[in-house]
Amino acid sequence: MRGKVAIVGYGRTPYSRLKPGQPVLNVDEYIAWAAELALEKAGMTKADFDGQGLGVSHAEVAHTVNWSAATAENLGISPRALIRGDQGGSSATSMLIRAASLINAGVIDRALIVGADTPLGMPSVAPGLPLSPERTRGVYWDFQGPFGVMGATAQFALVLKRYMHEHELSVEQLGKIAVSNRYHASLHPGAIYRERFDLNDYMASPVLSDPIRLFDCVPIVNGGLAYIVTSAETAKKVSDRPVYVRGFGEQNNHYPGSRVFPDLTETGFSQSAPIAMEMAGVEHSDIDFFQPYDDYPFISMMTIEDWGFCKKGHGGKFIEERNLHFDGDFPLSTDGGQLSGGQPGGANGGFMPLVEGVCQLMGEAGERQVKDAEIGGVCGFGGIPYGRPGRSCISVVLGAEA
């Protein structure tokens, strides 16, 4: 399916931390705002999606069980195909794959894909537990919460600790990712935290769940994102700079080794990335920038390893030796990532690597533009299985040419 579909519009609303003076929008308003930005970019209107595709990502604050159909109702669009993203941080990329398949099969010609959430201000069952009720019921929660699992930070700290037991990796190497992301955020007007910091500031940030510290964690925000994907034929008619989906790969519920005692130092990207790169017909050296799902710096590092940019266990050294800036030899998370940009709910942060990849390849990244960017690698990483790092690992290769 190389080059059969292309992205012709994208939108990312300003984010909010609900600080005094910041606007208070609900999730439906954020969806409409993000969709409006994407439609403007594509030169389309909502009427262009009647009889076409509408993709909707999960929201913690979803107020009905028919979330995608309710969103169609709110937007006044009558789509032929509804696509529902429920794969956490890989929802945006999974909906891209579903839409591409529907387009390639001739069911639809184009799809508007939206995702927004307002996790801040959400009613909570307990102070310090800003989670929708669905997260705190069922067997999954019963065998975590009562055992002292303190959320994603503790779950990922267990993965990181094991990695550091098996491989050489310093806290400073991870800090370099956080510092570089903040540098890129300083060049991105849409990032929520833009003041630069250095490695000393990173090291001084408090340890929350050993070895993960505050500056390793994504800040939660309210906000929305959207993009428009269409057949290559339509893309050429409506856009001067369509961004082609060159390749994709998806791995869900990956067990590295045994199902009972899996190896936590490997993610499903070890499976999905080679498939995406083969479909795209690219080598590692062809990739001009890389947008991992950076909910924690070591997830970026493990993603780099599992994509095969370096050998397993060499990620720390790779980070240390490469220049991660937009004008360096390995541009990483050029929008500031989620670490400095903010995460608009657990199911929508995954729009950010994709939207930034499109923005770069359209040549619209302003001060952080990667020069002559032609090929980009972007990732979705979603959900935390019991005792393992990521439920869905999606790899996508985007190209300025088909």
């Binding site: 067997v139 019963d142 919460g145 303190m150 094991r162 769940s209 009972v260 005692f261």
Partner: protein
Amino acid sequence: MSIVPNKPLPEIHELTKPFWEGAKNGKLLMQKCSKCGTVNFQPKPWCIECGSRDMPWTEMKQEGTVYSYTVSRTVAMNYPGWKEELPVILCLVDIDDGARMYAQVKGVDPEDMKVGMRVTAIFEDISEEYGIPKFKPL
């Protein structure tokens, strides 16, 4: 008056009840597949290895090895009652001949925790009828 419990308690379902009752009686139970022998944890609807639904709750050895651990110094995405226990040592324990599980480690300084440490189960009551396993260094 708050309706929020100080620390989270599991909802007891028919599927998981034997685990909590076992812990009350000082036993560590996990589902063991009678077809392929795979031990499943957390509780599953069928064996994740072979798909058999015949997985009787089976008493496990109470010793295991710490696969990884973390020392949580703040309460995040959990109930505020944990604050009194900070720092909370959370680990993944590989139960001998069993499966891997999340559990707290007690009776050890965070500085003395190590990957590969041998641990043994201890049991605490969470109600009149149910208990929860934790671990201490062997």
